[in-house]
Symmetry: D3
Subunit: 329 residues, 6 copies
């Protein structure tokens, strides 16, 4: 039995840790411009899907994302529902996606509408048969999503993903089955990063979320992450810079526009974070850095002291169910 040595701070220091990277001056301008350029109609289409499950009705959703590209999602609704439902929008971890139509998170079973959204260009590890493509070309980069278009904020992969996410929230709020005043957002790892970004950017499109639940979020405090992470997709950036010597500042300047630490400050809704103290993929200091600045007062972080990137799993899901029920009651 063996393990890697811990490379992040002990808990008492994590509680005090603050990310020292300044915000890029054009951060708000960049995102406002991006969202303004992508304010075209949502163009939502729903098609009912046969899943074999009798308790849940499922729809195959397509909406128009960044640059007009079609983005896919599943909408799950409790079968015997009546009246508009609170809705939980879920984003997914790196390499994954919405999966197959019959695969259920607990949200619809707890009476919520549940919109579970593909990440464009991903889905290679668990994405169902027809994952959502990303039609934008990129310069050669380390395989994977992390350094696609990293040459500038305008071309960076996550510009498209975060914009898709904000629009997914708008989709969720616009459906007949849902209550636009009770939208929550959730996701783990990359899904946690998108959750933070969506919560931080939602005010810019006039959306008032009721709750955000980022688990072990990725894409926070990039400089520290590059120092401390010893597994997972942050390392793609290291491998890219390993080859493309001299592009360090260019890459970091791009990443600063997508840093969850900065975007979390713009969030206005209650939040429940989770973090694993042994997380080598999304090191705890990077998570605490984002949590520390979260822009709303109703915030909690649940610490899992002996967990790596799996975090709290079913234990945390249980906690989220009751925390969210209180917030959306």
């Amino acid at each position: 039995m063996s393990a890697m040595p811990r490379s992040d701070l002990p808990l008492q220091d994590l509680l005090e840790y603050r990310c020292s990277t300044p915000e890029p001056q054009d951060l708000d301008a960049f995102w406002e411009r991006t969202l303004a350029e992508n304010a075209h109609p949502l163009d939502v289409r729903l098609e009912p899907v046969e899943t074999g499950l009798t308790l849940v009705d499922t729809f195959d959703v397509t909406f128009s994302g960044y640059g007009g590209a079609p983005i896919r999602a599943w909408l799950h609704l409790p079968a015997g529902r009546s009246g508009p439902l609170p809705v939980v929008v879920q984003f997914h971890g790196y390499s994954g996606g919405r999966g197959l139509a019959h695969q259920m998170a607990p949200w619809p079973l707890a009476g919520y509408a549940h919109l579970t959204v593909d990440t464009r260009g991903q889905g290679w590890s668990n994405g169902g048969h027809e994952p959502t493509p990303d039609p934008e070309p990129s310069a050669p980069h380390h395989p994977g999503s992390m350094t696609q278009g990293i040459q500038s904020p305008d071309t960076y992969f996550y510009r498209r993903v975060y914009t898709d996410a904000v629009r997914a929230l708008q989709v969720a709020a616009s459906l007949e089955a849902t209550d636009a005043e009770r939208v929550a957002v959730v996701g783990g790892s990359q899904g946690g990063a998108i959750t933070i970004a969506a919560a931080g950017l939602a005010p810019k499109v006039g959306l008032r979320l009721r709750a955000a639940m980022p688990d072990v979020p990725f894409l926070c405090d990039f400089r520290r992450a590059l120092d401390v992470a010893t597994s997972g997709p942050y390392l793609e950036i290291e491998r890219y810079l390993h080859t493309f010597r001299g592009r360090e500042e260019e890459a970091l300047a791009t990443l600063d526009h997508f840093d969850g630490v900065h975007l979390a400050r713009r969030a206005e809704c209650p939040t429940l974070f989770s973090v694993g103290l042994l997380d080598t993929t999304c090191p705890p200091s990077t998570v605490f850095g984002a949590y520390a600045g979260w822009g709303a007062e109703d915030k909690q972080i649940k610490v899992y002291p002996f967990n790596n990137h799996e975090g709290g799993e079913g234990y945390h899901q249980r906690r989220q169910l009751s925390w969210l029920a209180e917030r959306l009651a």
Copy 2:
């Protein structure tokens, strides 16, 4: 990127492969004696559990297993049900268990009663807060379940587990909410082994199952498994015999009484197997060996040619949902 070399046969040879180990002469006698010794009342208790899920009603079940030890399970029932339901009994993979009460397999969502049963003494990787203990002591053995009591069939760990499983089927058939004529059994890996054993032993207690769905089943064709498996708990047996030189025949003679190849021949219900051709934990030849002798004519095996022990995952679940719906319609 790297991988282990394949160590099992190519598909065309797997289709022809037959396990060459003879059955122990006392196999039926051993199991009939075991089940007769454990024919005490089931002593089922149900307590409703609050899960936060509104579409499913969940009960904490305790019943009396091998030697009278209390065995735990969850019973999940669709919330708005009416009349007795077909019931799916699920067993779990090595080290796991029934998990937390709100964690749902697709069965209850598809309208089945679902009884998901702990494996005594396990639950260390994913078993919820109070996994089911195994009160029987064992001689020192390699850590884990595989060599507990391997000195004789009478003391072997899986004697208790298989007996618990047969009794779990009896529990499922005996509930008010269920239809005793429509009992199915399912499980993956160790859960697949228990599925085979339960299907093979059910006739001995007069139970007529309607379907068995073992996925990537464990505990089949032990001699070949010890030759071919390069990961997973079969290796515990190798480590045990590494230390306890000279006990090879004793151990193999015990294992022969628990071999899925032999027990599958006694099964009388339709079956849907799955197998991964790259499975290094439950090598495909051991699975084909059990499938080849299955004792009923309505049988299928779904081959996943580029999968290891994960097998078909959601893809296979989807297939199981429709296969089972046809069988239990």
Copy 3:
């Protein structure tokens, strides 16, 4: 010190080994159509580059590849040359590219013109500062090049790469500094696969090559490679099929159009292959399979019995220098 077990055949069997996959019926039609659709002008541009090397003159070359996309290469010429030179066209291993302008293979130092060509979309491990992009979008796939567009021969990544390669040969033959009657092609691993493909397809555009030198070539006998390779990019295909269950035949039908075994049969020039008997990335049987069918009589294969994918390195380069000198004298 440890090593992987050998998974390929012993030498005596390799000498007899023949790939059993039949050619797709439309193979020639597919490639003739592809090359016909990409018969636009080469549009070659040369810009002199300052490298600091005084013995070699270097030019940054751009030409129009598949679909009109600009492809980059270096042209190296001996500084004091006079009269048209024989020319060696080089393709590169997976993930690499032409590198930096001052990095020299032995060819220009031996008096050849040397055209060293980027692989579009690659260059992430060693490609210089501005590797050649691939502007064609692809459906989500396992990260890397191997499963880009694998849904059909028309969309597959290597359709573009092989076409670029044939056009690079045309570029090499068209330059003022070169002798169109003395064109040779060389490359290792993926570069060896492209070498075979370019040699096999050259007759279709009326090009008569004088020599082809594929080292430890990739992309040959895909079915066997998927069985035997335990490292390297063949495994991307395995990982793709691991996720996208049910697409095995679709993927293999695509790959058959790009198999070096089939394309080698169409080659008409002398060849010198190399192979490492311990190669786990491009297993020796797959190399022997391509070599066995090579379509010209003047052929040799140099076996390196104790080498993995590095093959003969400097030893083989030395052999290539003298073999090629004889062929191009």
Copy 4:
């Protein structure tokens, strides 16, 4: 060649390091109660064993341990002895045991009586043919001994082991062949932990030891060990807490009753410790923590600066032979 990065302190800091975990208030009460409850007769039985060795007489010893369970040991005596001998009691590393009867430590060859004692429930890596069972059942736990009964000090595995050890010292002192005034105790790793515990608890049963020699001892300063150890059985506790989230304080409260740091303070005999500065299984700070508080003045610690958990091996054995000869002269 590669190695893990060092994760523990440099030597100068180790010399100053002190464990900061307070003693549980009921520590003495717990152990006094435990020993009082297990003050039944030792019930020692000796059977001569044929080993093939002519210089040493060996006996198979059974005595009554915690809860009355039979514990096995070998007693080795120099063949030509006369008069009562000083006696060395040895405990063993995790997973091991007394081994086979002919396997000799140097103690009997140096003229000592040597009692080498099984650890109940272990022996799976090296324990001879009939290792000592542990008849007490435990709740499901991570495989191995470390989390057996960790729910409370009363049920914890090492309660039984430490009690067995104290009783083994009593056995050693009670034999006809031995001199009760010259009892020494020795062991490495887990055997070192038991050595510390036995030395610390011996005064509670009125035993006056003459020497204790713990090598690279385990089970010291658990909180730090869980932070710093990157190999070995401390990680079982991490894996247990990984699954059983929320039981951290319960587990640590149990472990505090078995911490060598606390028990070492109660020792009254001279000691010779050893420590490897590169030890990743029993990190040096945890060893220095126990050594710092050792309750007798005659104490030494031998530092092996370039050794991992193997410590000083034969070099240290040689040192122990002469150190002990001085103490027991």
Copy 5:
């Protein structure tokens, strides 16, 4: 838990396996010349050593080996001996040596004289403070002993080692304390290879041994070993040939002069072999190859079916003690 796939034959085939490499024609001539050139006086010196052990008297032995180089050994004698003793000569595994003076094998404790001999140039893993140097220089080679001087039989490292071994047997037979008619030889791994070589070459110097006990012997059937071994020092030869391409035949021609398969045929004394069926360092087929041709009728091989290179350890030692007692009674 994971393991390497088996790469050697199953037991039933091992029993039939025969090495197919022919003997070099000059094999006997080479060794007779070598031994004749090294027939200088043994020049044995004995110095008593203080070990702290009272049951055994130990002497530091130096004798003149190949080329007159001084070779070191320990001689252990039971303390109260009377009359000449049968003597066991032991050789050591790769990288090791005689160790420290107080470290005892069971032989002296069983009443034998025990001569435990250094391997020149080794001792880097476990050789005591002053291991025996090898004064002969070698051409650059892969680090370690395996390719030292592999350019020809005359310069090969093991020419010196095997000669030292034959002379060690002569030393053992020549001592005052020993009975020259009762000399046995033992060793594991490299020590097993030297045991075979010494037994095979002893007749050439007129020595009649009474027993040879090679365990899991190394240096047998080199061609197969290079194909099948996946760990251990055979791989040094692979790494050497990896670099020094083209020297394969030269190296193999050298190795043929040192192959245990050939030398075993020349042995004339009874033998007890051991072999581990999972041995990846000295694969079982190479051991069976040597055993099959052993030149005496009284031969046994003990198979350990679930052991790697550790073989039978204490279990086999116990067997050796009784087997040898019968042979030397």
Copy 6:
């Protein structure tokens, strides 16, 4: 994707880091004595070699090194040269050597004479067919060069290597084709260490170098290297001291005489260093330690922040070409 945790300091601390090990008092005396004892004639022989390259003339050079042993090198000269040329002397990384005659570094192509020198006793990973032997015997040591003769500065392996290097510089300055006033020295890893040593020792033989370019140099600040390095040959020293307990001070006292930190202070020529901040083989602090004390004012260090021991590769070569052109213009 995974990586080791960083174990060295962050950049801002590296810039301030100073090695704290004092110089041995006899450092200058030791080296002056060594060089004086090895002041015999250089005895240079040149033989032209046929490489197949027409732009470069290559000679096989032999000169008399430490103790008179013959040392091999290649001399490469631009084919059309006129007049004495500036000369670049290159040393090689651990285990390598001058390679094959046709393998070209950029120096001759840029118009320099290029003397590329073997490291005696090495060449096992990449050394051409006849690497240079080291005729001096050594006591048994961990396989490899690092602990050969480490018992004293007089017998240490690098005493011979550094002396060979100084003499190679003298050879370079003495050739007809070269300009003795324009000698530069370059090398990476071990070659970087030899570069530093040669630059530091050159003044002692009256040589005035014009430039030294050590890349990611090895053999600097040994104490820190033993603490921080997690890969590469520093670990040989750790393994040696692991076995030979008690020899720590002896070994470190030897190493102090060869430490690049001390020798760099004696250098008098301009220098361009390179360092990888993720270098686990030659950790950055050890490189900065040597750079900090370099004995000339014209010094630069190029930092590669996301590179391990590969450092800047082609990027740095390009920088060296222009830096050196400025220095030797």
